[in-house]
């Protein structure tokens, strides 16, 4: 376990020194904030459109002077805008996180092989299993960091905009994290067969609704869609703990199977080119 944690720590260190990755993460979080600001403006426009002719910009003053129907329409519009803001925030953070996960896990082992740094590491008493698990755990830690930053961002933003969080937002970051780990495990497995870019494209495409339930592949390929709670966030649906636990177990199972396949492949892989 100590060796695995050493490899994981080294992996985190390496990832945090990758300018491309940091740029990608910042761009994702930046886009998330940009969308949210845009939607917050929309929300303010709704307020001002309702306030027109009502004699003030203060929200309570505005609502006091509205008819009952207008008040209901106003509340619905405000809730819709808030939900949309959160849903977009979630969607952009989730998509960006997926790109980051594909980058991290797709290159974790393959870049070590390509650059030849794996030779020094494996010349020490480090097994291939320890190496691969360490690399995966390093990626998990970075993705956890990403999920925490994204969660903090939505909390700070919701607080500053005085928006009530959608009930589905309680679980959205966790499910986003699970989805990214699944995606990462597929990318890592495929990167042991193909070039990392091809592996990333295949990993992304594998579970994004390319197969219908009538296709047997549907039951083999990952179901990333089940982890996407965009509509639940948008509609303000409450997510049941049971569903979240079942999805988490599915993700765990899936990741374990992918890692076992990756280990099987990694143990047979030639780690240097002729």
């Amino acid at each position: 376990m100590k060796t695995i944690s050493l490899i994981a720590a080294d992996s985190i260190r390496g990832l945090l020194h990758q300018r491309l990755l940091l740029g990608l993460m910042l761009a994702c979080l930046g886009l998330t904030v940009f969308f949210s600001i845009a939607l917050a403006k929309t929300r303010k426009n709704i307020t001002s459109s309702f306030s027109d002719g009502k004699g003030g910009a203060n929200m309570s003053t505005v609502t006091n002077r509205m008819s009952e129907t207008e008040q209901r329409q106003f509340r619905e519009s405000m809730e819709n805008a808030s939900s949309m803001m959160q849903a977009f925030f979630y969607q952009v953070a989730s998509f960006g996180g997926s790109l980051v996960a594909l980058f991290i896990f797709g290159t974790a082992v393959s870049s070590e092989i390509r650059r030849g740094t794996i030779r020094l590491t494996l010349s020490k008493p480090v097994s291939r299993t320890q190496f691969l698990l360490g690399k995966y755990l390093g990626g998990v830690a970075v993705m956890a960091g990403y999920a925490v930053i994204a969660t903090l961002a939505i909390l700070v933003f919701a607080q500053s905009e005085k928006v009530d969080l959608s009930p589905a937002m309680n679980w959205a970051p966790w499910l986003m994290f699970c989805r990214q780990l699944m995606l990462g495990s597929v990318a890592m497995l495929l990167s042991l067969f193909f070039h990392p870019i091809i592996a990333a494209v295949l990993a992304f495409a594998a579970g994004n609704g390319l197969c219908s339930t009538s296709n047997p592949l549907y039951y083999i390929l990952p179901s990333y869609q089940d982890f996407n709670v965009f509509f639940q966030v948008f509609q303000g649906t409450l997510m049941h703990l049971h569903d979240v636990v079942m999805l988490s177990l599915y993700a765990l199972d899936f990741v374990v199977i992918m890692l076992m396949l990756a280990l099987w492949r990694f143990h047979r892989k030639e780690l240097v080119s002729p």
């Binding site: 650059r115 030849g116 740094t117 020094l120 010349s123 020490k124 480090v126 030639e270 002729p274």
Partner: protein, 308 residues
């Protein structure tokens, strides 16, 4: 106990979509005893690095097996007794020198209490004290090779596998490296060196193996390999048909100060040439065997004349 034992090791690579096969190593059998400094020689593409990669379990053999201290090379635990320096030292470029060595020391299971002092000791030994806090991405090739050598020695291994260890070092660095090897030898360590620099191998190695096209051509001590090998025949005259016949052999004919010398790379060739001379009634004035340098042994083993 043999530090390295290689049994019937073969490696065939398949490349490309059509799976074209390339044999890098054929039926290699080799033993390196504990405490030996062993030179592993061969031209480019001979299979030296492939053998090292097989010993390190970085690639899988097609046939055969390799053992380190009587343990299969596939066992990870045996790497506790092993240090490895690759030909091209690719480092994790986000580390500073000292931190990188500390990371590898932790992987090599150097006890935490001894880690810092061991790293300091090696930085001093390899003249890297001033570069210890420099990012390794900024290291020169020579510095990278030095720090690579330091990481190989972190756990004071019983066996060092060095692939072209001095290719990026200047003459001073090479001299220091030779001194370190001799000191390791005194301490009973086993060193397996793959190198192109024959003079270097000659000066430190107890035994050498010569590999060509994946096949082991010769193995032994320098004395064993050179004994009775190069034969020199001195003749007074050489008729034209004999000169013509000699040009088809691997013998070299030189004329210096009126003396004709025929240098035969081995005794078999010498026998053939003696019969040829006898047929043409050429009298041999003098015959002597000469000890060969490693360079001569090397080139005669791979059937190529030394490059001028």
């Amino acid at each position: 106990m043999a530090a390295i034992r290689i049994e019937r090791l073969s490696k065939t690579y398949r490349a490309g979509w059509n799976g074209k096969e390339t044999t890098a190593l054929r039926n290699l059998n080799l033993e390196v005893q504990e405490g030996e400094i062993f030179g592993f020689l061969g031209p480019n593409g001979a299979g030296k690095t492939t053998t090292i990669h097989l010993l390190l379990n970085l690639i899988r053999p097609t046939v055969g097996a390799a053992y380190l201290f009587d343990c299969p090379a596939t066992e990870t635990e045996v790497h506790r007794r092993l240090g490895y320096l690759p030909e091209t030292v690719n480092l994790h470029d986000y580390y500073r020198g000292r931190k990188m060595l500390e990371f590898y020391a932790a992987l090599a299971r150097v006890p935490p209490a001894a880690r810092s002092s061991r790293v300091t000791e090696l930085l001093k030994l390899l003249q890297l004290e001033d570069a210890a806090n420099k990012v390794v991405a900024r290291y020169s090739k020579g510095m990278a090779q030095r720090i690579g050598f330091a990481q190989a020695m972190l756990q004071d291994p019983d066996l060092l596998i060095l692939d072209e260890p001095t290719s990026s070092l200047d003459p001073v660095g090479r001299k220091e490296f030779r001194d370190i090897l001799l000191e390791l030898k005194q301490r009973g360590k086993t060193v397996f060196i793959s190198s192109h620099i024959l003079s270097e191998v000659e000066s430190v190695c107890d035994r050498v193996a010569i590999l060509q096209n994946g096949e082991l051509k010769r193995v032994g001590t320098l004395e064993e390999l050179s004994a009775g090998r190069m034969v020199r025949l001195i003749v007074k005259s050489l008729p034209a048909p004999v000169v013509e016949a000699l040009s088809a052999t691997t013998a070299q004919v030189t004329l210096m100060q009126g003396q004709i010398t025929i240098r035969c790379p081995d005794e078999a060739t010498c026998g053939e040439i003696e019969r040829l001379l006898e047929q043409h009634h050429v009298e041999i004035a003098h015959k002597e065997t000469e000890a060969q340098s490693l360079e001569e042994i090397f080139f005669s083993s791979i059937n190529q004349p030394p490059r001028l």
